[in-house]
């Protein structure tokens, strides 16, 4: 079993583990940020370059450092490997510039974007980016394309992470969309404006790290930080039926898959659960969902609403509540 040291912390992992996975096993304090990697999607990652790390020692056998920064999501660990992430100035610099590249053509329309508040690009740029832009060129924009009744595609915001393409390829039975054109003209689109219409297409919304793919049934209903996520489940013959319900008052505004600590979907859900079951009666409520990532909703106020006197931020174990008491 190879041993790898990341930012001075050593861990023993199974063969074939990537640096990123090993870092996540150690904990969030050494885990590189990611945009295009998604643990549940095969062959994802490698594109965005935010998870670049410096390999200062290749392995026990070949201790030479790797000449270039490596994408940690696609580099396997070797025994004795030493990796610099937050401790490496080269990495910090490179990451800063990757953020700059990603934001170069991003519209920064967060005030009107539904993703704001749970946007991975927001988190990334807040943590790793610079406060000012160095470009005064007009940003790239795209015409809106109608891809069906459920999903809104807003290509201008896209960072080309390829996650939605991989969802369509690996989870749905027919991919009708993909990346068109080249370079900074690349865009996500469907084959001759076909509608994306299959049972699992909604997962594209969940895996989109930015606001390029949003839920048409939720658009402009509410800022996400005014909603309360509740874990719930139902018996579904297509998917696991394990979801998060996003409440505003008594109303379910939207249904999404559950996301793990790294903002990646745990189990993909079907479109019936996502779009058609918006009554509390359809679901068995389990309790408040904990939001891990660093945006506004992660204050997790809603988790402790039952007993105000015990009010604490970031309660790790969710308090179980009786069904219907929300």
């Amino acid at each position: 079993m190879p041993k790898v040291t990341i930012d001075g912390r050593t861990i023993e992992v199974a063969d074939g583990t990537t640096i990123l996975q090993a870092a996540r096993m150690i904990g969030p304090e050494v885990a590189p940020p990611t945009m295009c990697y998604h643990s549940k999607l095969k062959s994802s990652g490698g594109y965005c370059r935010t998870c670049l790390v410096e390999v200062t020692k290749g392995s026990e056998k070949d201790p030479r450092p790797m000449p270039k920064l490596m994408a940690s999501c696609r580099t396997h660990v070797m025994d004795g490997m030493e990796v610099g992430n937050f401790t490496s100035t080269k990495v910090i610099e490179a990451r800063k510039s990757v953020v700059e590249f990603l934001l170069l053509n991003h519209p920064l329309d967060c005030p009107i974007c539904d993703q704001a508040g749970e946007c991975q690009l927001q988190d990334l740029s807040y943590e790793n980016g610079s406060a000012k832009t160095r470009t005064d060129f007009e940003r790239r924009t795209f015409e809106k394309i109608d891809i069906g009744s459920k999903i809104q595609l807003h290509m201008t915001r896209c960072i080309l992470c390829y996650r939605c393409v991989k969802v369509a390829e690996q989870i749905t039975d027919g991919r009708v969309h993909g990346v068109f054109n080249r370079g900074d003209h690349s865009e996500i689109s469907t084959y001759i404006n076909q509608a994306i219409d299959n049972d699992f297409s909604g997962n594209m919304i969940d895996v989109c790290p930015v606001g390029a793919l949003t839920d048409k049934t939720f658009r402009f209903k509410s800022r996400v930080w005014f909603t309360k996520p509740m874990q719930a489940h139902r018996n579904c013959d297509k998917c696991s039926g394990k979801v998060n319900l996003w409440y505003k008052g008594e109303e379910v505004l939207r249904v999404t898959g559950r996301k793990d600590q790294w903002g990646e979907v745990e189990e993909f859900i079907c479109n019936t659960c996502r779009f058609d079951k918006k009554n509390t009666g359809d679901w068995t409520i389990e309790g408040p969902a904990h939001i891990h990532h660093h945006s506004v909703i992660s204050a997790n106020h809603y988790e402790v609403f039952t007993k105000p006197q015990e009010f604490k931020l970031n309660v790790v174990t969710p308090i179980t509540i009786e069904e219907g008491s929300n």
């Binding site: 990603l102 960072i159 993909g178």
Partner: protein, 448 residues
């Protein structure tokens, strides 16, 4: 006269056809290889020859071949990279259209050495007319028993197919080429795994440049040791150089490695000096992606010796005062050339050809082009020059494939060696190049 191996029979009429080619000693290497040698011995000969990949990176071919994984019961492939699209490089086009059988012969010999039964030639879309030439050559070779089942009664089978790309520079990168050959979008793969382990259709694959494969013919004919005697140091053999720019005799030349750069530019055998007797200003020695060098640095090394046409000598001094042999696209610029405009052309090319997969290259190449356009428009500032340097530094080494590096190096070297010229543009754009209206010159549609 330097020794010629690849273009030896170039001047003979009818060499494009099988009969003349065979009469001039063609297909001898296949006979020798298939009848008298084992695949292992062939790989050993190529190793001994010291042949280095002619596509740009200069990786030793014999070593690449020996890395090829050979699992039982799994097909192996040889893919010839004929997607020559580097600005300034046109040697493969010349070779394939003039002596197509040399490539076919090399393919057969190399395939035998690697134990390959299906080989592909991936040719760029713009070379459609060469596709016809190659297919005719393959047909002739098959008719004469050099291809197909049981070649020369040895029991060895081989088929060669030509696949036409759709004209994307990125498909010259070997993994993008394989993706494209599989019928997918030509995006470079993330390495490892390398093609030698999992390449075409997930099988072990060797991808070699046209010139590399053609060179195997002479190696087999003369033997690896004999081949290694040609050239200098670790740069063995002959190299095709595509000479273009402000010279009297542009064209494809076969040189013995080790002649001086000065000879190559000024002697009548090769480029024949600078056009109209002007002075040499700068040279891009290996295709658009290698660093540009000013006249003094390309002719002499830092220690005062003359620079030679070889892998080592051209890269002497690192990127501070050296460049690379690359794919042999030798672009000569005289004193009237504007380095800034030249750089803009290159930057525009890389922006256009970036596949858009990874963010530094996708966004960075476009950004650099816009800044250069701004500078040429007379709206640049000194900060823009530094910003250019910074952007290229952030692209270099941080991308999936070498296209990012290729886009970054010209920018870095142009500013390193010709910074004053950029500053002139920034300081008084209207006086210095008042006569040039950039949009008229380039007719560039820029979508700001």
């Amino acid at each position: 006269m330097g020794r010629k191996l690849l273009l030896e029979h170039d001047h003979i009429p009818g060499i494009q056809g099988y009969d003349v080619y065979r009469k001039m000693g063609g297909y001898a290497s296949v006979e020798k290889a298939v009848k008298t040698m084992t695949p292992e011995a062939l790989v050993e000969e190529v190793k001994k020859s010291g042949l280095r990949g002619r596509g740009g990176a200069g990786f030793p071919t014999g070593m690449k071949w020996s890395f090829l994984a050979k699992p039982e019961g799994v097909a192996r492939y040889l893919v010839c990279n004929a997607d020559e699209s580097e600005p300034g490089t046109f040697k493969d086009r010349y070779l394939m259209s003039r002596i197509p059988h040399l490539l076919i012969e090399g393919m057969i010999t190399s395939s035998f050495a690697l134990g390959v039964h299906t080989a592909y030639i991936y040719i760029r879309g713009e070379f459609y007319y060469i596709l016809k030439i190659l297919e005719k050559a393959i047909e002739e070779a098959r008719t004469n028993g050099w291809l197909g089942k049981n070649i020369l009664g040895s029991g060895y089978d081989l088929e060669i197919y030509v696949h036409v790309g759709a004209g994307a520079y990125i498909c010259g990168e070997e993994t993008a080429l394989l993706e494209s050959l599989e019928g997918k979008r030509g995006n470079p793969r993330i390495k490892p795994p390398f093609p030698a382990v999992a390449g075409l259709y997930g099988c072990p694959t060797v991808v070699n440049n046209v010139e590399t494969i053609a060179s195997v013919v002479s190696i087999v004919n003369f033997g690896g040791d004999e081949y290694a005697k040609i050239g200098i140091g670790r740069s063995t053999g002959t190299k095709l150089i595509s000479a273009s720019g402000h010279i009297n005799k542009p064209g494809v030349y076969e040189i013995e490695m080790g002649i001086t750069v000065e000879d190559f530019i000024y002697s009548d055998e090769y480029c024949g000096g600078i056009l109209n007797g002007r002075k040499l200003k700068a040279v891009v020695a290996g295709g658009s992606s290698v660093p540009i060098l000013p006249a003094d640095k390309i002719l002499t090394l830092a220690n005062g010796e003359k620079r030679l046409m070889s892998y080592e000598s051209l890269s002497d001094g690192g990127f501070v005062s050296g460049t690379m042999l690359g794919s042999g696209g030798f672009i000569v610029m005289d004193e009237t050339t504007s380095i800034v405009e030249n750089l803009f052309t290159f930057a525009r090319f890389y922006h256009h050809e970036s596949c858009g997969q990874c963010s530094p290259c996708r966004e960075g190449t476009a950004w650099m082009e816009k800044i250069l356009h701004k500078i040429l428009d007379g709206k640049g500032t000194r900060d823009d020059i530094d910003l250019l340097l910074e952007i290229q530094a952030k692209i270099e080494g941080n991308t999936i494939c070498p296209l990012g590096d290729a886009a970054a190096w010209p920018v870095a070297s142009a500013i390193r060696h010709f910074r004053s010229e950029f500053e002139e543009y920034v300081k008084n754009p209207n006086e210095v190049y008042a006569e040039k209206q950039i949009d008229e010159v380039f007719q560039v549609p820029i979508n700001y």
